[in-house]
């Protein structure tokens, strides 16, 4: 048949990756606009990034930033909530606003022929929102109910319990969406003040990618956003939290057939010198399907549908987390296997094969990461929010390729100490308490 099926066919000559060429302009009110024309399909992705987020809210008003984002479309002086909804729905554009720790992001996805009106809609929400009292009450109570429903989802319970243990009252320990206690106390005037202080053009960035042309885009942005005024404050990264000894935590979910489990500790911010070694180390430990933890728990043991790990790089030190769900009966063993994999990473050098696989997966996938308009606006946002260098992606491949097995071991040694690992399970407490106790003192949360 003329083909050799016994070995992997070699690749042909690689095509050159063209990273998006970002054009930019700064308006007179200091609003920065960055854009990348890509004409293949008639769509546009818009993202407006504002310095804001949970870090900008008073700690006793957790959720204020998120509540503000949800109220942006709920009315202006001359358009009520329903009018706004009809306007958006007639455009057919999607609009979503959400708060993070240090920024608020408003994303729109649209068919390119409604671009000008979509920009007008976006501008209306960030410059003219009025927060009618009845809508504040409604959205606040919707959010409070939503928090209540989050208790139904084991993965939500596990995620929140872990970060509150790691960061306690620190910024990254608080849920961005607020708590059952904080949300009901937020008043209209808090939202108005927050909006007045933080929804300003200075320091804000509008990113556009897709079927756009420079001239009409800038014209529309000038027309609808140049009167927007205000001076920004930079949202500060939280202070480095204290590192605590790890604990074993158990949240009861009676009758649960599976255990939602986490192994976590405080990780690192974006800009550490060993950034690329950490990325490679995580890819080998738990960042890919073929990573050690997934191969062990899923492909060898069959205990789970999947297991992964991640370093949450942020302006401050985000968490390192291993997350999976396993049959309840093997909860304690699963923890031991995960800890065993982490320990091996700290003590022994990874193999050349593993190192190569991780590097290839991370670098050869770049074209896939920059494929669509939405991906590109997201990448640009990431680069600006975290102050990554202009050449972050240009040098990414070389930086990753330079990482050595010893550097991988070193970062694991440094950041993944056993005594700082917190183990957490959400499951039927009675059935796992005894085996878990063999790993140490178990605290019920």
């Amino acid at each position: 048949m003329g083909v050799d099926r016994t070995r992997r066919p070699p690749p042909s000559t690689p095509r050159r990756l063209r990273l998006p060429e970002i054009e930019g302009v700064t308006l007179s009110n200091n609003l920065r606009v960055e854009f990348v024309p890509r004409r293949e399909v008639p769509e546009v992705s818009l993202r407006l990034i504002l310095e804001s987020g949970a870090a900008a809210e008073p700690p006793d008003q957790a959720g204020l930033s998120e509540l503000t984002t949800r109220l942006l479309t709920e009315g202006t002086a001359d358009r009520d909530a329903l009018h706004m909804a009809r306007w958006l729905d007639r455009l057919g554009a999607s609009y979503s606003a959400s708060s993070g720790y240090s920024v608020t992001t408003i994303s729109m996805h649209l068919f390119s022929d409604v671009l000008v009106d979509a920009i007008k809609f976006l501008a209306t929400t960030v410059t003219q929102a009025e927060f009618p009292e009845n809508e504040v009450k409604r959205v606040r109570s919707e959010r409070a109910d939503e928090i209540d429903r989050e208790r139904d989802e084991p993965s939500m319970v596990a995620g929140q319990a872990l970060i509150s243990e790691l960061y306690e009252d620190g910024l990254y320990g608080r849920p961005v969406g607020g708590t059952a206690e904080s949300i009901p106390l937020i008043e209209r005037r808090d939202v108005c003040d927050f909006y007045g202080n933080w929804y300003v053009p200075d320091g804000a960035l509008l990113i556009a990618c897709g079927d756009i042309e420079r001239g009409p885009l800038i014209e529309a942005v000038e027309a609808h956003l140049c009167k927007w005024q205000g001076v920004s404050q930079r949202v500060q990264a939280p202070p480095d939290p204290p590192r605590k000894p790890g604990r074993i935590l158990l949240a009861d979910r009676p009758g649960s057939p599976q255990a939602e489990i986490r192994v976590g500790t405080i990780g690192v911010p974006y800009g550490t010198p060993n950034h690329h070694a950490i990325i490679v180390a995580n890819a080998i430990l738990g960042g890919l399907f073929n990573s050690r933890i997934n191969m062990n728990l899923r492909e060898e043991k069959g205990w789970t549908y999947g297991a992964r790990s991640s370093f949450g790089f942020r302006r401050g030190a985000g968490p390192f987390v291993v997350h999976t769900a396993v049959e309840s009966g093997v909860t304690a063993q699963a923890f031991q296997e995960i800890l065993g994999e982490i320990k091996t990473m700290r003590k022994e050098l990874v193999t050349e094969d593993e190192l190569d696989l991780a590097k290839h997966a991370l670098t050869l996938s770049l074209p896939l990461q920059f494929e669509s308009a939405r991906q590109i606006t997201s990448k640009i946002a990431q680069q600006r929010i975290y102050d990554l260098s202009e050449e972050y992606w240009e040098v990414y491949r070389n930086r990753i390729e330079e990482v050595t097995a010893e550097q991988v071991r070193e970062v694991c040694e440094t950041y993944l100490a056993r005594d700082r690992m917190t183990l957490l399970a959400v499951t039927d407490a009675e059935s796992v308490l005894e085996p878990l106790s063999e790993l140490g003192t178990v605290d019920l949360v």
């Binding site: 066919p9 293949e40 008639p42 729905d89 599976q258 939602e260 396993v326 770049l366 074209p367």
Partner: protein, 426 residues
Amino acid sequence: MAVSSTVNFELEEHRLANGLRVLLQPDSSAPLVALHVMYHVGSKNERSGRTGFAHLFEHLLFQGSEHVPREGHFKYIQDAGGTLNGTTWFDRTNYFETLPANELELGLWLEADRMGFFKPGITQEKLDNQRDVVKNERLQSYENRPYGLAFETVLESAYPQGHPYRHPTIGYMEDIDAASLEDVHKFFDSYYGPNNATLVLVGDFEPSEALERIQMWFGGISSRPIPEPPEVVLPSGYGECRREIRDKVQVPRVYLMFHSASFNEPEFETVDTLSYLLGDGNSSRFKRALVYEQQVAAEVSVFTWPTESVGMFFAVATARPGVDADHLEASMRLVLDDFKQDGLMPEELEGAQNRVRRSLVGQLSRFGDRADFLAHAAVLRNDPHYLNDAFSRYGLVDEIMVEEVAESVVDEDRLTVLHVIPEETS
């Protein structure tokens, strides 16, 4: 802003001598290629006592074949910088990868090896391992999730015993346990021949060269007889079906499901447009009435399942605290009754059509998603050109068509109702 035909993707259609259908959609806008192989087999082809088998089988197809070691499939693709996955549904099973364009041959080798040389690679040990993985998938994605068993309960109620759409794709635990190696061999022989498959390429390649490579890798795999597909008929004279189940949840959720137009029927785009009109966007009928005005629902979603035979049209609403399932259901039905009685406003239809085309363009922007769209159009509709025609088909939907379809689909005799209510209230 009427919906118009706004995309025009180049498309070539071929069929190899062994029956393998090949669709080529060249696009050099990114240095990537998406390879998608869709087999015309799904959970509807399972025999009783073996629910979940098509999906378990899909897992096994990632466990190596004669020339590809266990875990090799994932490893090779990741090593090349690609992504991959497979999914199973009522009517079809698909396997796909997106790769840097210079690795097309790698994808072809892997897909050809599992199509032509699967059986020597499969062992009892691999079956047992993946059976455990799938059982955990069922636990994680269904049993241990709020409202996770709702859809399978709707199906059980909506279809009579033995109907091919009556059971969920994930299958029931005891059936997953029952699968044997002999079942695996038989299923492969029956459904995984090239004449039951469609191969789609989207991306940066030269069509004649790609076709030649496909011929080289797949041309030697023999076709074989495919069993007659099961008959999937609209259950009739069944009347309204009702069920209530309890779950570990704070608030009730109500599911209304109407038997509807399938992906194959001319009314499909109209029903789909109706779902956008009723439930997509804050001004849509359901969201406005239930979430905004009456505040009886926290969330509402309305959607159609593009199945090959009998379509399914869903309206699902989650209650606000203090609102019981009966009250929520009554409010939902009032929205539907009002719509049927009063008809629609022209701007509602225009908005729904604009939301549809934004959603369509979003589904076609990445090569992998476009390949998926094309494969579904080819396998379930036997109409690959739907890739380009979908926009205009949705654009032709008018007010009268929407009103007629609402009249015929939103009908008591086609309705299944499920209430999921909190355990505590028992």
